[in-house]
Symmetry: C2
Subunit: 202 residues, 2 copies
């Protein structure tokens, strides 16, 4: 029983430009720890997935009523959660470099870095597409910024992000956040509890 739980894991598929990934990123480690399961952080890019659907922008920009509602809903969710929220002056922001840097920290500081990027983007209206903003985030977390950002340009890291995005498509993922637990797909911050219960085989 303990062995099974120690082995149980949930894959957290997220994109730094995705608004509802923010509360999920802030909540997932505590919920998973309480359930005795491990989180595998899997950043990917929604851009290619949206482009394949004919969208050249976020659906929240393409469909204004949906976008207005989403910002209001996100304000309510973050207020209830007690995490900072400020509607970003630019949306969506370029998430490519942040996703690559996150992969440099895989198995190590990826979760701390990812949460900090979300807070910067949706809590502090900072330009997470800028290398300087990412360097500042890394430094605040006591992660060597220069080497992490340099490592993010390595072909293996670029390939890893492409592979993640391809794997997301192959798994039927069409939006973020998504969770994969024992081959079952769950979409949206609202499904996090259910996905964790499924991962824990409850």
């Amino acid at each position: 029983m303990e062995d099974r739980l120690a082995d149980a894991s949930i894959e957290f598929w997220y994109e730094f430009a995705s608004t509802y990934s923010y509360p999920a990123a802030m909540r997932i480690e505590a919920l998973a720890a309480a359930a005795g399961i491990r989180v595998v952080w899997r950043p990917f890019l929604l851009g290619p997935i949206f482009a394949a659907q004919g969208w050249r922008d976020s659906p929240f920009n393409l469909y204004p009523a949906k976008g207005r509602y989403m910002w209001r809903d996100l304000a309510r969710i973050t207020a209830a959660l007690g995490v900072p929220f400020r509607q970003p002056s630019r949306f969506p922001r370029n998430s490519l470099l942040a996703a690559r840097v996150a992969l440099v920290g895989e198995g190590d500081w990826i979760h701390r870095f990812s949460r900090a990027v979300y807070v910067a983007n949706f809590g502090e209206d900072r330009e997470i597409g800028d290398p300087s903003a990412l360097a500042e985030i890394l430094e605040r977390l006591s992660i060597p910024a220069e080497s992490a950002i340099a490592a993010a340009a390595a072909p293996e890291i670029k390939q890893k992000l492409k592979d993640n995005t391809d794997a997301a498509i192959a798994a039927g993922i069409f939006g973020a956040p998504s969770f994969l637990a024992r081959e079952e797909l769950f979409w949206g911050n609202d499904r996090l509890e259910e996905a964790i219960a499924h991962a824990a085989n409850r």
Copy 2:
């Protein structure tokens, strides 16, 4: 205090072709009763709203990965809720006549009729666009079928459905189910509890 609660209400905006409106329709009266609030059933049509966004079909058909996930998600939700589910052989079904008939029963049997239409569409794979299927539903509910269906063709009823759809757009509604509670908009079956709490001013 009791007066305030007796006056509190929630508007339930739904469309008979909308999959996630099904669990919301099955749940809302019990949840509202427990919170001491009244439900105002407001059927409307998503067709004109989707058409204005450039969609000529359900987004669940236009975006197949999203559609495949939705059916799996709905199967999980209905199983957890203990209501029948069978993936309809046709989707979306024409909901125009059902919505008009529902409005004939406004303030009376609209909630019973609406739940039965959802069960027929998503639990029994029945053709809710057919007058004969609607007549059968009405008869099972001991509602005079012939007169209800005849009344649905009255200009006032047709106008009422158009007015509901216009009012939905004016309220910022872009999908179903939606809930309006004290001028706050909530979208999706997942937000029903939050909407009811807001309506009850908790």
